[in-house]
């Protein structure tokens, strides 16, 4: 029954126009970034590398597909949670708002299976979104700009990664980014179990992300003890794969924190939905 209802949930997601809104918006944004980089990328790049040019000389195809893919990821990973929440935020509450929850919950399927199938369908949608983003960012940018070594500017300075050493980093980076987005999906499904309208959980999810991101960026001692436990602190940990050497301990810590958040969010959703009187 779990498999059948997961399929059902995915059919519902695919039937909703808003599901394509996210993919469409993502496609458009990536095309705009690629177009902008094609038109003015060299001057942007020289502005960034200007401070290093007294000590370093850059040669070859610096503005390449890998760099553009990295820039795309950097720019969009902040916005993709909204696109995820837009679809997953009403997976339960949307059914309550529409009234279909009555029919769904009176079928021979347990409430636990209903929540889990929604979580699995939301995870599949999130995976498709990130795969599409990966395809456009890495494959499409690579096709437009060609390949080359990746130059990354981070807090430690300039990191130059060989072309042959980049693909696995993107792969692993996307995997961790997926886990981060999955946490957003679980959070919005969890909030959805408490609501009876579609928009509330979507707005609440974004409000929580914004709040946690602000707390994470504030340099205030009182917040230092909670920052490592906020899932938003770990949402950009995919970037760690573009350091040299890769700090696996920090990545594992992020992965564990994100998995724990997922378990908690799904657990709370299960607890709430299993006890909910369906009166809508």
């Amino acid at each position: 029954m779990l498999r059948k209802n997961t399929y059902n949930e995915f059919v519902k997601i695919l039937s909703k126009p808003r599901s394509y809104l996210g993919i469409g918006a993502l496609t458009l944004l990536i095309l705009i970034i690629v177009l902008a980089m094609k038109a003015d990328g060299k001057s942007i790049l020289s502005f960034v590398t200007a401070s290093f040019e007294q000590t370093l000389s850059f040669s070859g195809n610096v503005l390449n597909g890998n760099l553009v893919a990295f820039i795309v990821l950097q720019m969009l990973i902040v916005h993709v949670p909204l696109l995820v929440a837009l679809v997953t935020g009403d997976l339960i509450s949307g059914e309550a708002a529409m009234g279909t929850i009555r029919m769904l919950a009176s079928k021979p399927i347990s409430r636990t299976q209903i929540v889990l199938s929604k979580f699995l369908a939301g995870a599949t949608y999130t995976l498709i979104l990130i795969l599409w983003m990966g395809f456009l960012a890495v494959i499409f940018s690579g096709w437009v700009f060609g390949k080359g070594d990746l130059i990354v500017l981070n807090s430690d300075g300039l990191v130059i990664l060989k072309e042959a050493d980049v693909a696995w980093r993107f792969g692993a980076g996307f995997l961790v980014a997926f886990l981060a987005l999955l946490t957003v999906s679980s959070l919005s499904i969890c909030l959805s179990a408490f609501a009876e309208n579609s928009i509330g959980p979507i707005v609440a999810t974004m409000a929580i992300i914004i709040l946690f991101t602000i707390i994470g960026s504030l340099d205030v001692t009182v917040f230092d003890s909670i920052k490592p436990y906020l899932f938003t602190t770990h949402m950009a940990s995919w970037r760690s794969f573009f350091e040299n050497p890769v700090r696996m301990d920090s990545i594992w810590q992020s992965v564990i924190v994100l998995i724990i958040h997922n378990v908690i969010f799904v657990g709370v959703a299960l607890w709430k939905f299993n006890r909910k009187d369906i009166t809508s």
Partner: protein, 302 residues
Amino acid sequence: MESTIEVRNLAKRFGNFEAVKDVSFTVRKGDVFGFLGPNGAGKSTTIRCLLSLIRPNAGSIRLFGKDLQKERSAILSNVGSIIEKPDFYKYMSARKNLEVFARISGADVDASDIQKMLEFVGLGDRGAHKVSGFSHGMKQRLGIAQTLLHDPDLIVLDEPTTGLDPQGIVEVRNLILRLKNEQHKTILLSSHQLSEIELIANRMVIINKGTSIIEGEVAELLNSGELIVVFTLDDARRAADLVQEAFPQTKVKALSDGELEIITSGIEVPRINAYLTQQAFLVHAIEPKRKLEDYFMKIIAQ
């Protein structure tokens, strides 16, 4: 007789509000069971408890002889239901909606079963149309198709005619009658349309303020008191005098030149008809006057 639903001392509280205090009733196999009560009596809450949408605070619910709490999935795979208005995924077609519900119905339902069901409810040519464009009546018929997809033995219909126009009400009523007569389903029917219950149901329970008041055969309950019958005939005023003289135990009143109201026991009606015919009156029609409504009001007022 084998019972399909057994509800005993059901109670449900929402905060401080007792929606259901003490409801008990039994629906037997093959019954069309009327579930009556005024607004706020606790009908919908009871029905939602039966479908495990609401968790009761006390009491027991057994369906097909099984405990609902313990064997929920096995029980619900044999139940079809419409709770108030049937809501569907508006962004999907009627067929797609039925496919979604069929997958989790616990039975093997294929595309031809879905098409047959759409045809059964008169939506055979609308399967590919999105539900967003459906009228309330069409949604109601699609709701009935959804309840029947997995061929359940028990059908629970909570206010299935709410919001329907007269034509829609007749369509739904005819569908229910077909379920009763052709498919011999056990049907629990909650409705505000008392005349509908009177026409369709063989047994009923009346609940008020969260408590079941009376339960039994519709005919027995309604015939337990006096019956109001309206005769349509020629020269009602002369007929009134004659009937009053011949049947002094009845109360007779000419409503107009062509309508005669008689309050009597059910057993006297054929005799009065025979007498009027014998007296050369042309009796065009004999109609009971909203019996259930009167009975219902009397019970509720007690």
